[in-house]
């Protein structure tokens, strides 16, 4: 299957004062279109850094990041922002919804950057909320929703602009087991039923089991599958 994400010889270093930390070391990774990839590893292994590079939130110090046919490591800040709006949907551990906006207004946010009319935006928002089962909660603000509902609003926001790639950073890290499984089921449905490529960072092997492939990261490098057992 064709690769949607391709990382070649990626190195990421951070400067913290005088100290330079190398978080990712010469990393190569390919993710096929339509794949559900779980990115696992201990804290500080570079999972979120890798996810940020794939999502176009950060740039590698060295190497190439190719996503959806675009060398995103070479894009300017403005073009990268436009690229993110078009190609990537983000889901965070703590939902990161706008507390003053209703669920439907939160979901509408990515569409504000498109040329869609108000009626078209409304239609897309309704479709996304229906997909995550929150049609009846569209007027509620985040503080009136449970954690699971808030995460479903975040997922609706991530998919409303119909992106190619869903990037999820510990999407169930703040949820109880039952709700977490609902959310993971929803991501799986988006992957299998709607063809979205999903890359998910998780600590949780149970969550990772929903993925079609698991990649393990340790100290900034990909490690063979047996390391899974030690997690």
């Amino acid at each position: 299957m064709e690769a949607l994400v391709g990382l070649k010889h990626v190195v990421k270093r951070y400067r913290r004062g005088r100290q330079v930390l190398e978080v990712l070391h010469n990393l190569d990774l390919e993710v096929a279109a339509g794949e559900f990839l779980a990115l696992m590893g201990p804290s500080g292994s570079g999972k979120t850094t890798l996810l940020n590079l794939i999502g176009g939130l950060d740039r590698p110090t060295e190497g190439e990041v190719d996503v959806a046919g675009e060398r995103i490591d070479q894009l300017s800040s403005g073009r990268l922002a436009a690229w993110r709006a078009r190609h990537v949907g983000f889901v965070f551990q703590f939902y990161n919804l706008m507390p003053t906006l209703s669920a439907e207004r939160n979901v509408e946010l990515p569409l504000l950057l498109t040329s869609l009319s108000a009626a078209q935006r409304k239609q897309n928002v309704e479709a996304a909320l229906a997909l995550v089962g929150l049609t009846d909660w569209r007027k509620h603000k985040p503080n009136e929703l449970s954690g699971g509902q808030q995460q479903r609003v975040a997922i609706a926001r991530a998919i409303v602009a119909d992106p190619t790639l869903l990037v999820c950073d510990e999407p169930t890290g703040d949820l109880d087991r039952e709700t977490a499984e609902e959310v993971l089921g929803l991501l799986q449905q988006l992957n299998r039923g709607h063809g979205k490529t999903v890359i998910m960072v998780t600590h949780d092997p149970k969550a990772a089991s929903f993925a079609s492939r698991i990649v393990n990261l340790d100290k900034g490098a990909l490690v063979p599958a047996p390391a899974m057992a030690s997690i």
Binding site: T48, N52, G55, L57, D58, S77, G78, A81, A82, R84, A85, R86, F90, F92, N96, M98, P99, T100, L101, R105, L109, P110, L112, L113, A118, R121, R157
Partner: protein, 380 residues
């Protein structure tokens, strides 16, 4: 427009704080509107005065001038009409109810005050009734007077022959005049009634009103009049009404400067207030702004969003403040006869609001623009 809900939600994120700041900004614009309105009303009142109306007063004191001098003044080339005038500064029922009554010659009043529109029938009624008075609509409304009412004026500067300060007058007409320099908001009573009824200064007037043919000749004519009485016991000083009004204003002080200084101080303080609000608001929303960048908002877009927030907040506050001030303008017109030009004032106010918004919103907008998404999401 599609960003308005997002902008509005940003403003009202902390409703209590937003309301208090809004009240402060509204208050500042109300103050601006009232003070600038007052200043523009004064300037407008001065500008409205005609340059072809001169006033002749005593050069050396507040002593009145003999009305016999009017005959000589009438003969000066370029003088069209003259009239003696005695301001009878009076109160009505209470000491605070000031009535600007002027003792005038009804036969000359329309000739000396161009633009004053009083029906001839009303002038004749005043001439027929020695104790008659005609009042402007402004005064009649303020005190509830109507034709037929007897009003006991209590003069502060002219004593009646019976020893009392009371001058009973009968209202014989109420006029509305949009034009006129001296009398459009006054009560007019007969010069003869006051002159013959007072205990002192009979046959004199502290002011002569002189109407000339050509306003461009005001200077030479004023000089000619004053030359007539040079080195006499009653030397005169003649100037246009506009010059006298400007001199009077200057004696109070440079009102424009004082008002501008007050407004500048208020807005300088406001700059910090709104700036601090915006900065705090942006700081608190760092993770939310990072999410917007994640979703695809560009650096410039986010900067524009914060500036739009500041702009919306300041414009809404200005609209409320200036709107409240505008509601006071008709009251000012009714009470003190000021005609305030609201249009230019509003334009200046909104321009000020835009300036305030841009200056106070720029530092937080730049902060939002420079936000590093990865650091902000990681809480660094």
């Amino acid at each position: 427009m599609k960003f308005l809900p997002l902008i509005w939600a940003g403003i009202w994120r902390k409703p209590g704080r937003a309301v208090l700041t809004l009240l402060s900004v509204v208050n500042a614009f109300l103050l601006f509107g009232v003070l600038q309105g007052f200043a523009s009303g004064l300037n407008h009142a001065v500008a409205e005065t005609h340059a072809d109306v001169l006033l002749t007063l005593s050069r050396i004191s507040t002593e009145p001038l003999p009305v016999g001098q009017l005959d000589q003044i009438k003969r000066v080339q370029g003088v069209r009409a003259t009239m003696p005038m005695v301001p009878v500064i009076s109160t009505y029922r209470t000491p605070t109810q000031i009535v600007p009554a002027e003792a005038i010659d009804p036969a000359q009043v329309l000739a000396v005050d161009p633009g004053l529109t009083i029906p001839q029938a009303m002038i004749h009624a005043l001439q027929r009734d020695r104790t008659g008075a005609i009042v402007s609509r402004v005064l009649a409304n303020r005190f509830g007077w109507k034709v037929g009412d007897r009003v006991p004026l209590r003069a502060l500067n002219v004593a009646n022959r019976d020893g009392s300060p009371t001058w009973p007058v009968d209202i014989v007409g109420v006029f509305s005049s949009s034009g006129g320099t001296l009398f459009k908001n006054a009560m007019l009573i007969n010069f003869d009634y006051v002159d013959q009824g007072r205990t002192t200064n009979g046959g004199t007037a502290p002011v002569f009103v002189v109407r000339i043919d050509d306003p461009h000749q005001a200077g030479p004519i004023a000089a000619s009049i004053d030359k007539l009485f040079a080195n006499s016991a009653n030397e005169t000083k003649t100037a246009t009404v506009r010059q006298i009004a400007q001199n009077n204003l200057k004696q109070i002080g440079d009102i424009g400067l004082v008002i501008n200084a007050i407004v500048a101080a208020v807005f300088f303080a406001l700059l910090f207030l709104v700036g601090a609000l915006m900065m705090q608001s942006v700081r608190e929303r760092t993770p939310e702004l990072a999410v917007l960048k994640t979703l695809g908002f560009t650096d410039g877009g986010l900067m524009g969003l914060i500036l739009a927030e500041s702009l919306t907040f300041c414009l809404v506050s200005a609209a409320i403040g200036l709107g409240l001030a505008a509601m006071l303008f008709p009251v000012a017109r009714r009470l003190i006869g000021f005609n305030i030009q609201a249009g230019p004032l509003m334009l200046t106010g909104f321009a000020l609001a835009i300036g305030l918004a841009l200056i106070s919103g720029l530092p937080p907008a730049i902060r939002a623009m420079r936000l590093q998404v990865v650091d902000a999401l990681a809480g660094r």
